[in-house]
């Protein structure tokens, strides 16, 4: 069927901020869909609250709205844009849920908007567990024994028929929130209550535990003609019981016979037909009992997902792009396979390599949370690796994870781990289990024993044993002869051993290993990802490295005879807190910008969720870990004219020095300048030379030095290890005692790196600046005023652009300092500076001569594609070649708010500090600060109340100032409740206050009121004292019940502004395209 001509305008809902369970894979799928629909001549309307996305770039859709993802705002946009159809299946669970609500509220019917891809009933059938179960049984599939419950009493009765352990899943949530495994009634009661609470429809499913079964997933596509294909099969290394997002997974499925695989395939096809997903991608999860092969279906997502992004990258088959084309009426055989060009998309990719995906965790950020994995997703990112065997792919993946492992290495010495711990780490799924599998084997456990305890299939354990055996063999040969023969060395490389790993094993330097390897002619080869295992010629240059005999990158490069200059861009690797989608956004822009200038672009990255690893983002894609060895391998084959390291975050920057020493031409700001900015001592000297002010600081190595220095600087001080991103292990300490205990904690992180101490500026305002310098001119692209004071990590604080309280004088001073720093550091490209302002005094906190987390926000706010401009400048253009906007002349206010993952880590307090904890960000745009802030809060899913009860409990410092806030709120007709001390302060300011207890005796205590939903907003500033621990319980309850909880006074001020605006002003929406046009006219 050709495409539909009865629809002209299609709306796409994005997935919003990056949260655990929903990361940049939806930017990848959404931008693919937008591009595909535009290509077909449709007008595309896009809404997403996340500014750090490629999809919200003004060129991707025809009308782009950065607005809160709520039905209220969606209706504004629908009313304004009047789309004919909405495509709900590309914006993750958020997009899907919103589309469902739009239907339920009659908004789609009212404006005559059609749902494409999957209709309301279909989504319901797949998402609603009872309907899904019935559908599965109807087509002859088995499901685990299960029963539904809608309240705790009912649940307690129902569970007796299932038995323990059992699994509790909440209907309509994302990433498995509100679920868990219960082993006894007590545990069950707790989990059931949570689940009922977090379900959109207050429904939980209590399910027979199939923990330990083998887990599989199929990616399925269907078109209007009822053609169905399976794009990819995935087998999980971690068996059932661990969320797929937290599991190490492998594609294709490894241990299914054809008969069993086809049986699963048949089941998927029957199911997608029965559920009725008309077009597009879905994923279906299965569990298989390893004892007898009994297969049960677990769940289905009637939309593109994290797994479909993975499947796309694993096979080369662009699921989201095709899903969009199918949605507008094409059938699979009418779409060409981009990779082979001559064959249709109606086929099933076959791959001739092994793909391993490994999740990236950040438990180190939340020391109070245990790193135990369960069915609620906890990982914040992932890396994917491709190899010609599992061993190679696994080791590449582990070194690509950037958690200080260089493969399946020996970071911990197995001899010092006791057996009890080994057993426990095998048995209870956790973030480092993969290494414990090796330690257990090293300790002498048999393959079968390890498999039995961990429930991980022997196939995987044996693969790990093979790595270990070879390692032992290498060690013994190395010990006896001091070197390895070519055959053995080749085998080591085939098994995925990195040069660094071999260096450790052989007691040599990595450099020597590399040299030895090359002398022996053992060099990397690159193979193509082509969807067809070489059966057809492939035209998309998407490569991975391996150790084979034929190098297709070399063959293809020779064939192309391109005379273009080449620039290589190093990506950011897996998402983590502190380094996420913002950097991928920058890398993509670099690729687009340089392509525009006529360069050939080469991308290296290992994150399958990203747009940068889409095969058409750059001219050539190398799916590789970002390590020195892997980057050098690509470099030596491609010999690019320039390499960009400043866009991928800290990851490529950490490699810069070594790459440059190895002769890699790094373009833009020099490595020396990067070092100068990162090296405390040198930087301080520079500051002195420039006459700029920094908070007093020191860099020390020993504990004694640190204590002396801290005393000299004067408490409070900010302490952290050097060379970390996202404020990892950074803390404000107020006295000697706390610094001592912090240093002890720090020991494992810093590993000999110096400790940095700064004077902590209390009550100082923080300002972020993004600028571009071409070596001569400087463009200050944005001055962002933080809402929270200095001391809260810049990644976690909200900020506003243009600044709304800073004086012109201070802004001028900041701009002036920016220009001087850019010149002094000889910046070519992007730079970001953090300033603190206390009174009129401006302090420089940090300078980063690279793309920053705020680059996309500033770009979206001003309409200036900063990363693009910076990339072109690095490639030779000048600032004078661009028409630049003055950010202070914006006619609207933009607020960036961060989104925090606290709901995922029970037991972790929600207090903000110098260590970054947020996973994502949203943006609010409006004509006033209040409205923009209110929008940003709605977008961050913490909408401010317009009426009701506000509970206030602040520390002694804040008691005086909070009165002004309370007064204002009382004037706005809010009822104020406060704890005794705070109430006293408020009463003396003449405010009417109800006194409530924290959470002890009586009905009238804050905790109960929070739990009953009778409090609408909490303002609570922590005092850092023990007595605050009961407030901690209240904050935790607030998170659980989704009640906004503000923990800083500045945040409270902003909230008051926001509340006032939402009461007094009417919200309006405007597309970026219109906003930019109106601004240019000014």
């Amino acid at each position: 069927m050709p495409k539909r001509t009865d629809i002209k305008k299609i709306m796409i809902i994005g997935a919003g901020p990056i949260v655990i369970g929903q990361a940049c894979e939806f930017d990848y799928s959404g931008s693919q869909a937008c591009k595909a629909l535009k290509e077909e001549g449709y007008e595309v309307v896009l809404i997403n609250s996340n500014p750090a996305t490629i999809m919200t770039d003004p060129g991707i859709a025809d009308a782009t709205y950065i607005e809160p993802l709520t039905t209220e705002f969606l209706e504004y946009i629908i009313r304004k844009e009047r789309p004919n159809a909405i495509l709900p299946t590309l914006g993750g669970q958020t997009g899907l849920n919103l589309a469902m609500k739009l239907h339920e509220q009659g908004i789609l019917a009212k404006y005559n908007v059609e749902m494409l891809g999957a209709k309301y009933e279909v989504i319901r059938k797949s998402e609603d567990r009872s309907e899904f179960k019935a559908a599965a049984i109807k087509v002859g599939l088995e499901v685990p024994k299960s029963v539904f419950a809608y309240n705790v009493e009912e649940a307690k009765y129902a569970v007796t028929g299932i038995g323990f352990p059992c699994i509790v899943r909440a209907s309509f949530t994302l990433g498995g929130t509100g679920g868990g495994i219960a082993h006894d009634m007590q545990e069950f009661e707790r989990i059931a209550a949570l689940g009922i609470e977090s379900s959109m429809i207050h429904e939980i499913l209590i399910e027979e535990s199939i923990e330990g079964w083998k887990e599989y997933e199929l990616e399925v596509m269907r078109d209007y003609n009822d053609n169905v294909v399976i794009v990819c099969s995935i087998e999980n290394l971690d068996p059932m019981g661990v969320h797929t997002g937290d599991s190490i997974t492998v594609a294709p499925a490894q241990t299914l016979t054809d008969a069993e695989y086809q049986n699963m395939r048949d089941a998927s096809i029957r199911l997608i037909r029965e559920i009725g997903v008309e077009t597009g991608g879905s994923n279906i999860q299965f569990a298989v009992d390893p004892k007898d092969g009994r297969m049960v279906v677990i769940e289905m997502n009637p939309r593109v997902s994290r797994s479909s992004a993975l499947a796309s990258k694993a096979t080369g088959f662009p699921i989201a792009k095709f899903a969009a084309k199918l949605a507008v009426g094409y059938s699979l055989d009418e779409i060409q396979n981009d990779i082979t060009r001559e064959t249709p998309a109606c086929f099933e990719p076959t791959i001739d390599y092994v793909v391993v995906k490994i999740p990236r965790f950040t438990f180190e950020k939340f020391p109070e949370a245990k790193d135990i994995l369960s069915i609620q997703m906890k990982s914040v990112g992932e890396t994917m690796a491709i190899g010609r065997n599992f061993k190679e792919a696994l080791q590449k993946g582990l070194r690509g994870l950037e958690i200080d492992h260089i493969g399946l290495d020996n970071k911990q010495d197995w001899r010092y781990i006791d057996d009890v711990k080994i057993r426990q780490r095998l048995q209870e799924p956790n973030a480092s289990r993969i290494f414990y599998l090796k330690y257990a084997l090293q300790k002498g456990m048999s393959i079968d024993q390890v498999s039995e305890i961990s429930k991980i299939d022997v196939w995987f354990i044996d693969q790990i044993a093979q790595i270990l055996e070879l390692e032992d063999h290498l060690k013994s040969v190395g010990d006896s002869s001091g070197t390895l023969g070519p055959e053995l060395l080749r085998r080591a490389k085939e098994y995925g051993f990195s040069d660094a790993q071999l260096a450790e094993i052989l007691n040599k330097s990595e450099k020597d290993v590399r040299a030895m390897r090359k002398d022996l002619g053992i060099v990397v080869t690159f193979k193509l990802v082509d969807t067809c295992a070489a059966e057809f010629e492939a035209y998309t240059p998407y490569y991975y490295s391996t150790y084979e005999t034929e190098d297709e990158a070399i063959i293809n490069n020779q064939k192309s005879k391109s005379k273009k200059k080449k620039i290589m861009i190093l990506g950011g690797g897996p998402n983590r807190i502190g380094q996420g989608i913002e950097f991928d956004y920058c890398c993509c822009h670099a690729a687009f910008a340089l392509k525009e200038m006529g360069f050939e672009t080469i991308m290296i990255n290992s994150n399958p969720e990203t747009v940068s690893t889409d095969y058409d983002t750059s001219d050539r894609l190398y799916f590789e870990p970002l390590t020195f060895e892997d980057v050098m391998n690509v470099f030596e084959v491609e010999k690019p004219d320039g390499v960009i390291v400043q866009f991928g975050g800290q990851t490529p920057l950490n490699l810069a020095r070594r790459l440059s020493q190895a002769g890699v031409p790094i373009i833009g700001t020099t490595v020396d300048s990067i070092d100068l900015a990162e090296n405390r001592e040198h930087f301080s000297k520079l500051m002195d030379k420039l006459g700029l002010k920094q908070p007093a600081n020191a860099s020390t190595v020993t504990k004694e030095e640190t204590l002396i220095a801290a005393g000299r600087i004067g408490y409070p001080v900010l302490v952290r290890p050097s060379y970390v991103l996202g404020g990892r292990a950074m803390r404000i300490v107020y006295d000697e005692e706390s610094i001592k205990s912090f240093l002890d904690e720090l020991h494992s992180v810093s590993r000999g790196h110096p400790v940095l101490i700064d004077k902590f500026l209390e009550d100082a305002q923080e300002v972020d600046v993004d600028a571009i310098c071409d070596g001569k001119d400087v463009y200050v692209a944005g001055v962002m005023e933080h809402i929270e004071n200095a001391g809260i990590h810049s990644g976690d604080s909200a900020c506003v652009l243009p600044p709304h309280t800073l004086s012109e004088e201070v802004i001028e001073d900041i701009k002036n300092q920016t220009v001087r720093l850019a010149h002094a550091l000889k910046v070519v490209g992007l730079m970001n500076i953090q300033f603190a302002v206390k009174g009129r005094q401006v302090y420089v906190l940090e300078v980063n001569p690279r793309a920053s987390r705020t680059t996309p926000f500033v770009s979206k706010a001003t309409g200036m594609p900063l990363a693009k401009i910076a990339a072109q400048i690095m490639a030779g253009k000048k600032l004078s070649d661009f028409e630049l906007v003055n950010p202070e002349e914006l006619k609207y206010i933009c607020v960036k708010e961060s989104v925090l993952p606290f709901s995922r880590f029970s037991g972790v307090d929600i207090i903000l500090g110098p260590e970054m904890k947020s996973t994502g960000e949203v943006m609010g745009i409006a004509s006033s600060f209040g409205a923009a802030f209110a929008k940003s809060q709605m977008a961050a899913n913490q909408a401010l109340p317009k009426q009701g009860v506000i509970f206030i409990s602040v520390n002694d410092f804040d008691k005086r100032d909070v009165a002004f806030i309370a007064k204002k709120l009382a004037d706005l007709q809010f009822k104020i409740m406060a704890t005794r001390g705070t109430a006293k302060a408020l009463r003396s300011a003449g405010i009417d206050v109800i006194i409530v207890d924290k959470h002890y005796e009586g009905e009238n205590n804050a905790l109960t009121l929070v739990q009953k939903g009778e409090i609408n907003l909490i303002i609570n500033t922590p005092s850092g004292k023990k007595s605050q621990s009961d407030m901690r319980v209240i904050r935790a309850a607030a998170i659980l019940h989704n009640i906004p909880c503000i923990t800083t006074l500045q945040g409270a001020w902003a909230a008051v502004n926001g509340i006032e605006a939402s009461i007094k002003e009417e919200f309006t929406v405007e597309s970026l395209q219109v906003l930019y046009r109106s601004k240019i006219e000014v």
Partner: protein, 390 residues
């Protein structure tokens, strides 16, 4: 194998053994055009020769090995890890391994599957198959795609290109080879139906895959399997309700004895053919066949059913193909087409009850999308009977 694993529990023993696998011997895979690849063999050593073809299915190696259609061929698997789920008693397509040689990137050391009875390497060793691992199978596949399937020789003894070339030049090529006579059953046998008997089917065995028999039996057919050289009279003597033409190896054009039989029986009994059966029907209807450059061997080709207008993802295994241009379109209709290369995947006689399919609706290995074609065969017999009754 099980014993070996027990030994592995003794870690000290395990860690001291050499990583070089037992019996592994350096080997060369030498191609007709002088290209060669290196690898290591399993236990079986010596020399073997055949036509090198690649198969892109990611699962189903046991079915591939036992498929009689691979007679005379050295099969290269494009998926690099082979043997992961071992071998079992059920997933066989005949009683023997038929490939002349087997080439993979890596054989699995320890398989895992609840149905597995032994490891693949043990199975290959027991059956004395020369099997090669450690080959850059992607490079080999690319080479075969670009230069075409060709004669190949695996040797653990002779590494001299000149001598290898001489040997390979002396080998007959696939075109003109009759392998059917080698794989066909010597004596007629009956494959029992399941449930009540619906029809009696005569099958001409040119190398029939068991899964075809299993499916027909499942549909209530009692299948009388005849040697390929059975005469039409002999076949008709059992009064079959339908005639099935099986898959099989080699060049269809030289299997004249089956072509003649089919020509004689056309119109007398409903006919359904698969793979070689399709080519034979085409030849019997006056068409010609030609050799494909590197054939279709895999489990992911899209084929359009031009009558039902549906697309099936299909299991493919053929080196020859019916030439569209050679068919008399007054008599013959093309009913299935390959969407990758637009080659003929199925034909039907316009007047007589006869149709055939080039790919493998019985799958094994591969998707089950096209299994409905067996029901079409049954329907055809139904209709034929009804027509006769009226």
């Amino acid at each position: 194998m099980i014993l070996l694993f027990r030994n592995r529990c003794n870690w000290a023993f395990f860690r001291n053994i050499s990583i070089k696998k037992q019996g592994m011997k350096e080997a060369i895979l030498y191609l007709q055009d002088g290209t060669s690849f290196r690898g290591r063999t399993l236990k079986e050593t010596g020399e073997t020769a055949g036509e090198a073809v690649f198969n892109t299915a990611m699962t189903g190696y046991q079915e591939v090995l036992t498929d009689p259609s691979y007679t005379g061929q050295i099969v290269v698997m494009t998926y690099p890890l082979i043997g992961n789920y071992g071998v079992n008693d059920e997933d066989v397509e005949s009683d023997d391994i038929h490939v002349k040689g087997f080439v993979v990137k890596e054989f699995c050391r320890r398989h895992s599957n609840w149905r597995a009875k032994k490891s693949l390497t043990e199975y290959l060793n027991d059956n004395k198959i020369i099997a090669l691992e450690g080959v850059d199978t992607r490079a080999l596949t690319r080479h075969l795609r670009i230069s075409g399937a060709m004669k190949a020789l695996i040797s653990t003894e002779d590494f001299d290109p000149k001598s290898l070339q001489r040997k390979i030049d002396e080998m007959p090529s696939m075109e003109g080879m009759d392998f059917v006579k080698d794989v066909s059953t010597l004596k007629k046998y009956v494959w029992k139906h399941q449930g009540p008997r619906r029809y009696k089917i005569a099958a001409i065995d040119c190398g029939i895959k068991y899964n075809i028999l299993r499916i027909l039996a499942g549909l209530g057919c009692e299948v009388h399997v005849f040697p390929a050289k059975a005469k039409s009279k002999e076949i008709m003597s059992i009064k079959p309700d339908g005639l099935f033409l099986s898959n099989g190896p080699g060049d269809p054009a030289v299997v004249t004895y089956v072509i003649d039989t089919v020509r004689e029986l056309l119109g007398k009994v409903p006919i359904f053919g698969i793979c070689l059966g399709n080519q034979i029907l085409g030849l019997a209807l006056g068409g010609k066949t030609y050799k494909l450059k590197f054939g279709h061997h895999g489990a992911n080709h899209p084929v359009k059913d031009l009558e039902g207008n549906s697309i099936a993802v299909t299991s493919q295994n053929h080196g020859f193909c019916v030439d569209i241009k050679s068919l008399n379109l007054n008599d013959v209709e093309i009913i299935h087409m390959n969407l990758n290369d637009q080659s003929v995947e199925g034909i039907r006689h316009k007047k007589f009850p006869a149709f055939s399919i080039q790919y493998h609706p019985e799958s094994a290995p591969g998707p089950h999308d096209a299994k409905y074609l067996f029901n079409k065969f049954i329907e055809m017999i139904d209709n034929h009977k009804n027509a006769k009754a009226n």
